[in-house]
Amino acid sequence: MKQVFARPRTLAETPFTYCPGCTHGVAHRLVAEAIDDLGVRGRTIGVASVGCSVFSYNFFNLDFQQAAHGRAPAVATGIKRVLPDRVVFTYQGDGDLAAIGTAEIVHAANRGEPITVIFVNNAVYGMTGGQMAPTTLLGMRTTTTPFGRDPRLAGYPIHVVELLSSLGGVAYLARVALSGVAQIHKAKKAIRRAFQVQLDGKGFSLVEVLSTCPVTWGMQPVEALRWLEEHMIPAFPLGEFVTPETRERA
């Protein structure tokens, strides 16, 4: 019988420990499929961050380094600079990348470090129990914005892809969503393309992955996916923002 579905070699045989309905597992699988497709598992090094994905190294069948909160792009820079022929990626959440690690991501992108960043944006701090993230939507209730995020007190959601798109070192920036099969297919393509850009030595690549956190959002998993479609995608437009082609034209 023809096999039509299997665990990617890049995924370890470890059950995910994420909450029911969390999209981290889907994002992990897409990363693993991209690495399998490109045939680079044996020369890929991942950098885990701090947040719900702190244990992501458990789920990948890859060499991994665990970075301090927000510092994954600096750690990845250190790895890539001494091993330029390896594939290096970070896997970071919104608090890690867009709050405490803002300096590290901006400068890694600006230097054009040929690394790939998987940026999971679920608009909330999941691991610490649902506090406001830099990407929390206006009016959205979290444990630290109990009356809804008020821009006069807590500012505005940060649009990371748009923020980075002005930087000269950036070669590929895309925002995708894990809200359904069609979107997941697009996400898979974008993640694969981001790794391809790294292999081609074009520069820095990042894919922002709009994701759900049903537990801290206080929703059922399906309801969370709907909320992602109805609220997150309008606030964070999807698409490819920078590609090597648009860079060449510019």
């Binding site: 598992r41 890929t44 060499d63 600096a74 790895i79 001494v82």
Partner: protein
């Protein structure tokens, strides 16, 4: 070809540049740093020389980023180094803790300046506590070497790389603004080839088992076991104690000083001897591990010990612990970039000897 004599090979160099050249001779493969006075010449030298020596130079966006680049490169198997001055070490404390927790070798140079806060850019030894008592949060330690001459700065830098590898631990070179800025003749050994990546390094797993660089141990039992392993390593590091005794054999008063302060003390000891005052210098070269045994031994035959530092009194606490009340310990320090003169120290030595002889 004629055989070069040692004198032929001497070059006149700033301390900062000598440290950088020594690192290149030690086969450093990557340097990450952020400019800060009084050590920026290390970065500048590396920017000029390291690429042609086959290494990587990168100016980081902050000391926070620099130490995390060190983490990544060390974890990827490279011989790696950063350098900074006091406020930069404060920013690197986080990274140092992760390096210690993940058992990654690296060399960190701290050319101390005056504090607290922005302080000034003048020489200081005010960061002894920060350097020797903890590598960031969480019970971690770095091995700390404190050179007193430019030659020693070069020699200890080369040694630091070997010790970092031997113990899989950060090693700090603790200098000060004078050591960084002053020039002296220095001789370098021939350069070493870069060492191969250790087996534990994350270089891409190929078809082998995957490797992990990590400091998380969520279960209390496993974190305690990890800490017990680290503590056992710090005990083994005691083999690296280094100390110089100068005119201590018949000394009535021992003067404890390290780094640049020991240079001034040495002159003061010579002046004391010229006056018939039996003074000696006991100079820790490793300040962590501290040469406690040498001080305990000295306490058996001196009347007292005077600790001299460019601080409010930090190393003196280690001296007191080592001496354990056997003889009186006095302290004299200058702060904020002020440095005592040999005549000033001679007066302090004589005063201390009078006090402890009462």
């Amino acid at each position: 070809m004629s055989v070069q004599t040692l004198a032929d090979r001497r070059v006149l160099m700033k301390g900062n540049e000598a440290i950088a050249e020594a690192a290149i001779r030690a086969g450093v493969q990557a340097y990450f740093g952020y400019p800060i006075t009084p050590q920026s010449e290390i970065s500048e030298y590396m920017a000029r020389r390291l690429p042609s020596a086959g290494g990587v130079f990168l100016q980081a966006e902050s000391e926070v980023a620099a130490i995390n680049m060190v983490y990544g490169a060390s974890g990827a198997g490279a011989r790696v180094m950063t350098s900074t001055s006091s406020p930069g070490i404060s920013l690197m404390q986080e990274g140092l803790s992760y390096l210690v927790g993940s058992e990654l070798p690296c060399v960190v140079v701290n050319i101390m300046r005056g504090g607290p806060g922005l302080g000034n850019i003048a020489p200081s030894q005010a960061d002894y506590f920060q350097a020797t008592k903890s590598a960031g949060h969480g019970d971690g330690r770095n091995l700390v070497l404190a050179p007193s001459t430019i030659q020693e700065a070069a020699d200890l830098t080369i040694l630091a790389f070997d010790l970092a590898d031997r113990y899989r631990n950060p090693v700090m070179i603790l200098g000060d603004g004078y050591l960084g800025q002053m020039m002296e003749p220095v001789v370098f050994p021939d350069g070493q080839a870069p060492r191969p990546a250790p087996a534990w390094a994350t270089t891409g797993a190929r078809e082998g088992p995957v490797r992990l660089i990590n400091s998380i141990y969520l279960e209390p039992d496993s974190l305690e076991a990890h800490n017990l392993h680290l503590q056992e390593k710090y005990r083994r590091m005691r083999a690296e104690v280094r100390v110089e005794a100068y005119k201590m054999d018949d000394a009535e008063i021992g003067v404890a000083a390290y780094g640049i302060a020991a240079r001034v003390v040495r002159s003061a000891v010579d002046r004391a001897r010229a006056k018939g005052v039996r003074a000696g210098l006991l100079r820790p070269i490793s300040v962590y591990p501290f040469p406690s045994e040498a001080f305990a031994d000295a306490a058996e035959h001196v009347r007292g010990i005077l600790a001299v530092e460019l601080s409010a009194g930090e190393m003196v606490e280690d001296v007191r612990l080592a001496v354990n009340g056997r003889v009186p310990v006095r302290f004299f320090g200058r702060m904020g970039g002020a440095v005592p003169t040999p005549p000033e120290l001679l007066g302090r030595i004589e005063q201390a000897l009078r006090e402890v002889s009462l």
